[in-house]
C-alpha cells in the first residue's frame, strides 16, 4: 500500500463500463472493508487525470471507447508508473487488450497498448466468442493455487501470450484467448488480464483475495495472509455456474 488506506481505482468507467465489470471494484472494496482494511474506491472518469492507486481495475467496452481509453492511458503514463512502483492491475476483456502490446481498432488498424503485459491481440477470424467459460488456473509462483475460474466471455479478439507473460489458466469450457493453445488470460508480476466477465471477481473470490493480498504487500515480499470471509453466497453461485457449464459441450 502506498498510504494508510488502500486506494482502488476503477479505470474509465465511462469508456470501459459496458459489461458490468465495475463490479470488480465493488467486490474488492467490500472484501477489504469487511476485513477492517481502510479502503477508498475511486471511479476514475476519463475526463480527469488518472489518480495514483494501489489497485486498478479495467473492464470491457465498445471498440471506439477502447481506442480512446488506450490512447489516454498511454499518453498520461500514470498507470504504467504506478505498476512500476508495485501497483496491482486486473484488466478484463477490452481492458486486457489495452494493457497488452497492441490490439485492433474497429477499422482494422493496429493500436498500441499500455504494454504492461506481453500479449498481442488481433481480430479473430470467426464469430465472436460468447458464452460461459470454465478455466483451470495454472500455478502462479509464490502463491497458493487458485480454484477453478468461472466467467462469461464476449469478445471478437484473439490474444497471443508472449514470452514475457504467462497464461493465467487453461480453458476447460469456452474459448478464452482463442489462439488455438487453449489458454485463457495472462499475468506477469502483479498484472492479471482475462476475458472473463460475470464480473470475474464476483464469481471467483479467491482471485479477488489474491489481488488484495498483493496490493497490501510490498513488491517482492510474499503476499500478506488475509483472514477468511463468509463466502456462502459466492460459493453457491460458483457451484451452480460450474454445474451449468458442465452440461455444455467441452472446448475443442
Amino acid at each position: 500500500m502506498t498510504g494508510a488506506r488502500l486506494r482502488i481505482a476503477v479505470v474509465y468507467p465511462d469508456l470501459l463500463g459496458t459489461y458490468g465489470d465495475g463490479g470488480n471494484g465493488v467486490v474488492l472494496a467490500r472484501r477489504a472493508a469487511w476485513r477492517g482494511i481502510e479502503v477508498e474506491l475511486v471511479q476514475a472518469s476519463s475526463d480527469r487525470p488518472l489518480p495514483v492507486a494501489d489497485l486498478y481495475t479495467l473492464g470491457g467496452g465498445e471498440d471506439g471507447p477502447e481506442v480512446r481509453a488506450a490512447e489516454s492511458l498511454v499518453a498520461e503514463g500514470t498507470m504504467a508508473r504506478a505498476v512500476a512502483d508495485g501497483a496491482v492491475v486486473l484488466a478484463v476483456c477490452a481492458g486486457f487488450q489495452i494493457v497488452g502490446r497492441s490490439f485492433p481498432a474497429a477499422d482494422g488498424r493496429t493500436c498500441p497498448g499500455v504494454g504492461l503485459l506481453d500479449v498481442t491481440t488481433v481480430k479473430g477470424p470467426g464469430p465472436r466468442a460468447v458464452g460461459e467459460v470454465v478455466a483451470q488456473p495454472r500455478p502462479l509462483p509464490g502463491t497458493p493455487p487458485l480454484p477453478t475460474l468461472t466467467g462469461f466471455e464476449n469478445h471478437g479478439g484473439v490474444t497471443r501470450v508472449g514470452p514475457g507473460a504467462a497464461p493465467l489458466a487453461s480453458v476447460v469450457r469456452g474459448v478464452g484467448n482463442g489462439g488455438g493453445d487453449g489458454t485463457e488470460g495472462a499475468w506477469a508480476g502483479r498484472v492479471v488480464g482475462t476475458y472473463l466477465h460475470g464480473p470475474v471477481l464476483a464469481r471467483n473470490p479467491a482471485l479477488a483475495d489474491l489481488l488484495l493480498a498483493w496490493a497490501c504487500s510490498a513488491p517482492g515480499r510474499p503476499p500478506v495472509a488475509l483472514e477468511p470471509l463468509d463466502d456462502a453466497e459466492p460459493a453457491a453461485l460458483r457451484r451452480e455456474r460450474l454445474a451449468a457449464a458442465d452440461r455444455r459441450p467441452r472446448a475443442g
Binding site: P13, D14, Y19, D21, G23, E233, P234
Partner: protein, 445 residues
C-alpha cells in the same frame, strides 16, 4: 376502442390488396387462433411468421394508405405505444396496435392481420428493426424514446444503432419525428430528420450517453433539477459536447405544477395536467411523448390525456394482482436504465420487495449488468431474490449489503415476502423480461 365522433385522421381505403396478401393475412389469423387454442403463448408471433412466409411484404400491404405511428427506443416502448393508441382512439378511431409487446416484423404482421382493416396504426418497433420499418411503412409519426445498453451478449452497440436511425430518418420525408431531446443518442438518431418535435422527456441513465456520437468526445450534462423541488420548473437540464453537438431547444417539456401535480407544456400552446394511473415520472414523460405524437396524428391533446389517465396497466406491467393469495404489484425492468427507474419508484417504501432475474435468450445470457444497478437502494427492506439466476443476484445483494432470502421459485418467493407485509400494501415484484412473464403467467392461480 371505438367511440362516437368522427375520426381525426382520414381512414382512407388503401389500394386493393393482391390475392397473395389476402391469403397471407388469413394464414396469420388462422395460425394465431390455432396457437391460442393449443395454449401456446399469446399466439401472435407464430401466425405473423406464417403470414410473412407467404408474403414478405405483408406488413407494408396491410398498412398501405393508413396513418401509421411507430414507437421505438430501449425503454418505455410498450407503455408509450399503449398510451398513444388510447390517445388516438379517444377521437373515435379504430386503432390497430401490437399491445402484447411483439415488436419484430412477425409481431407487426400479426397485429395488422388480426386488427381492424382501416384506420390508424400504432406500432411498437424493436430498435434494430426501426430503420427497415420506417422505409417500409412511411409512417406519419416516429417516436424515439431513448437508447441505452440492453442484453449485453447480443453485441448491440447503441452508438451504431443511433447511426442507422440517423441515416434512415434523414430521408424519411413524410414523417414527423417526436424525439427525446434529453438523450444525446436519440438526438443524433433524429438529427437529420426534416421534421422533428423535440420533447424534454428526461434521461435517468446516462452511462451510455457520455460518449459524443458526433466526435467521440465527452458530453457534459448540467445538473438536473431535484425531484419535487420547491420552485416549479423544468425537469431536465442542458447537455453539450465541446465539438458543438448539444441538446436542441425542446418545444415540449414537463413541469411541476401546483399541489404536486405535473403539467406538460408546449404541445399546442396550452398547459395540460398529466394525471396518470400509471406510477412514476418516467411514465409521465412517456405520456408527454405520446401526447405530442397523438397531436401529430390529429388528436385533441386534452382528450388524449384523459384517455391516457385511464390506463392502469400495460401488458401486465404495473398491475396489482394476487399471487398465491398475496397482493403483488408486478413491475418489469429489462436493463440498467429500467432498473434505475423502478428502484427509484419503489425505494421510498418500507415493504417487502421480490427481485426476479433470469438470463434466457430474451433476457440476454450474461447477467453482469446486475452490477450496473444500484441495489444498495434496497438496504433495510425485506428482499427476496428469485428466478433462474437468483444466485447471481444473491451475490450482488451480498456485496450491496442488502440482507435477503434466496428462493428460486417466483411464486414461493412472493409467498415468503408476503409474510413481511404490513397493512394492505402489495408486495413489489420487479422481474427482468422472462422473470416478469413467468410470474405474470402464474397470477391468480
Amino acid at each position: 376502442m371505438t367511440g362516437p365522433g368522427p375520426s381525426p385522421v382520414p381512414a382512407g381505403r388503401g389500394p386493393a390488396r393482391p390475392l397473395r396478401s389476402r391469403a397471407a393475412a388469413a394464414a396469420t389469423r388462422h395460425v394465431n387462433r390455432l396457437s391460442r387454442r393449443l395454449g401456446r403463448g399469446h399466439g401472435t408471433v407464430i401466425g405473423g411468421r406464417a403470414g410473412l412466409a407467404l408474403d414478405p411484404r405483408l406488413v407494408a400491404r396491410l398498412a398501405a394508405g393508413r396513418p401509421v405511428a411507430l414507437v421505438s427506443g430501449t425503454n418505455g416502448k410498450t407503455t408509450t405505444t399503449r398510451l398513444l393508441a388510447v390517445a388516438v382512439a379517444s377521437a373515435g378511431a379504430d386503432v390497430v396496435t401490437n399491445d402484447t409487446g411483439s415488436n419484430m416484423p412477425a409481431g407487426l404482421a400479426a397485429a395488422l392481420a388480426t386488427g381492424p382493416r382501416l384506420g390508424p396504426v400504432v406500432l411498437e418497433v424493436d430498435e434494430g428493426y426501426l430503420p427497415g420499418q420506417v422505409e417500409t411503412l412511411r409512417p406519419t409519426a416516429v417516436v424515439l424514446l431513448n437508447l441505452s445498453r440492453d442484453q449485453l451478449d447480443r453485441t448491440n452497440e447503441v452508438r451504431m444503432l443511433a447511426g442507422r436511425w440517423r441515416s434512415t430518418l434523414a430521408v424519411a420525408g413524410l414523417s414527423t419525428v417526436v424525439a427525446n431531446a434529453d438523450d444525446p443518442l436519440v438526438v443524433w438518431g433524429a438529427g437529420r430528420a426534416p421534421k422533428v418535435r423535440w420533447v424534454a422527456a428526461g434521461l435517468n441513465w446516462r452511462a451510455d450517453a457520455v460518449g459524443c456520437p458526433a466526435c467521440e468526445g465527452r458530453i457534459r450534462f448540467d445538473a438536473q433539477p431535484a425531484t419535487g423541488s420547491a420552485a416549479p420548473g423544468r425537469w431536465s437540464g442542458r447537455w453539450s459536447c465541446p465539438c458543438g453537438f448539444a441538446r436542441p431547444e425542446p418545444e415540449v417539456w414537463l413541469e411541476d405544477g401546483i399541489g404536486g401535480s405535473t403539467e406538460v407544456v408546449g404541445i399546442d400552446g396550452r398547459r395540460h395536467r398529466v394525471d396518470l394511473a400509471l406510477p412514476g415520472r418516467f411514465n409521465q414523460a412517456n405520456a408527454a411523448m405520446a401526447a405530442t405524437a397523438a397531436q401529430v396524428l390529429g388528436a385533441d391533446v386534452d382528450r388524449a390525456l384523459v384517455a391516457m389517465a385511464g390506463v392502469e396497466s400495460v401488458a401486465g406491467r404495473f398491475t396489482v394482482a394476487p399471487v398465491a393469495g398475496v397482493p403483488t404489484r408486478l413491475l418489469l425492468a429489462k436493463n440498467p436504465a429500467g432498473w434505475s427507474e423502478l428502484l427509484d419508484l419503489v425505494s421510498p417504501g418500507t415493504g417487502p420487495v421480490v427481485v426476479g432475474i433470469n438470463a434466457r435468450v430474451a433476457d440476454g445470457k450474461d447477467p453482469s449488468w446486475l452490477w450496473d444497478v444500484a441495489f444498495e437502494q434496497l438496504q433495510d427492506r425485506p428482499v427476496v431474490a428469485t428466478g433462474d439466476r437468483c444466485l447471481d443476484l444473491s451475490v450482488r445483494l451480498h456485496y450491496a449489503e442488502v440482507a435477503h432470502q434466496t428462493v428460486p421459485d417466483p411464486v414461493a418467493a412472493v409467498l415468503r415476502a408476503g409474510r413481511d407485509r404490513t397493512g394492505d400494501r402489495p408486495v413489489d415484484y420487479i422481474g427482468n423480461y422472462t422473470a416478469f412473464h413467468d410470474l405474470l403467467g402464474r397470477v391468480g392461480r
